[in-house]
Symmetry: none
Subunit: 240 residues, 2 copies
């Protein structure tokens, strides 16, 4: 599992507060880079990719708004959160104009910040997440597309699979060359484990075997009393 932590650029001139906040966020599984002022913040921003930027508004040399504008020029998508000294409407409006996604008034509750981060990151990531699940498999000379429910042998016309056929073959493929327990399929696909569902499953195994028959590389073996095993022999692997 590649559970990379989200990367945060934190720009805050107060060293004490900066470090405390950084530690807090680090403790909550973020990778935090702390910059002490706008200049440094921009330098660090250019050198890496961040998932979120948290900018203090009041800073020497370069204030948060200016920094936000520069960041927006480079990247118009990174979420930006402002930390403002107090509820100054002026600042808030200015912040949004500079391309902010949200703002927080100091002093703020750390849990609220976490929630905001979560909400913002969730929105962003929901688009990239797309193909995280396993829906396609190579089974010998077959290709199984489990989302579109078809099984294709080499370049021939795809065979349409029924929902049950599809899910069963997918379960077998997930356990390729390993035991796929009867019980697992019955509870996952049939949602009930009794004599009849079990017989029904056997019928589907027979159907799948009929499909797979044309390929010597793939076959479904029974492990008596335990379940089934989809064996896939390594075919003519080309060192491409």
């Amino acid at each position: 599992m590649e559970t990379e932590n989200k990367k945060i650029l934190l720009v805050e001139d107060d060293p004490n507060f900066g470090i405390v906040l950084k530690d807090y966020l680090t403790m909550n599984d973020f990778d935090v880079v702390l910059a002490k002022n706008g200049m440094e913040g921009f330098e660090k921003f250019k050198k890496d990719n961040y998932d979120v930027c948290i900018l203090d508004v009041m800073m020497p040399y370069k204030d948060g708004f200016t920094l936000a504008r520069e960041i927006r020029e480079k990247n118009e998508n990174v979420p930006i959160i402002f930390l403002t000294a107090k509820t100054m409407k002026e600042d808030v409006l200015k912040g949004y104009k500079a391309g902010a996604d949200d703002y927080l008034n100091k002093p703020f509750d750390s849990e609220v910040l976490l929630m905001k981060l979560k909400a913002i990151l969730q929105r962003k990531s929901s688009n990239t997440l797309a193909d995280s699940k396993q829906f396609e498999f190579e089974i010998g000379n077959f290709h199984l597309n489990s989302k579109l429910r078809f099984l294709r042998y080499k370049d021939e016309e795809p065979i349409k699979l029924s929902p049950k056929e599809n899910e069963l073959l997918r379960l077998l493929a997930l356990h390729e060359n390993d035991l796929m327990p009867r019980e697992l399929a019955l509870t996952k696909i049939w949602r009930d484990d009794n004599y009849f569902t079990s017989r029904s499953m056997d019928v589907y195994i027979a159907k799948l075997r009929k499909y797979l028959k044309r390929d010597d590389l793939a076959e479904i073996l029974n492990i008596h009393g335990e379940g089934f095993r989809l064996v896939v022999k390594a075919g003519n692997e080309q060192a491409s």
Copy 2:
């Protein structure tokens, strides 16, 4: 420029405040639908597509959180903004858990709300932009212009499409070669998923198939129980 106004669902039980806020937002070029309670809010949500939902937290019958959860079930992307009576951390956290994008404490400054809306819509649009601009498609030897609602085969006279035909074909084209779930079309185009709308959709599928019949490169396949798939075979591709 098709500058359609953004559509807001505003759910607020205080009639005075609700109307004032609605007018204010309307004045600022939003299309606002006002619901007086959670029940009504959900009904209205189901009947149309909104760009943002603004929900009061304290409401009779169904509070804002419950409503938010129901809305999230139907659509996990619409931005939701909560209006909370005062800074109650509890409420804020609860709100984010229910899938909120932001919250505002009453009394709030209307300009701040505008800014938040702008920020949120901007954030969203950067993601949705991709699809929203897609109004023209090449489907085999056909050309679909979804904005002008016609379908042309090669250089022949364009076929005029009815609104439903058009939207359905567009949805299929957006998911070209991939599954276009029944439910998606029903909720997006028919705004209701029941036996009759489903049958109606099938009628439209038949109509579209009749149009596409003249081209071997394009056809609509059914994935039993799931939806439809517009398969477009690559035609005479030129190696440019």
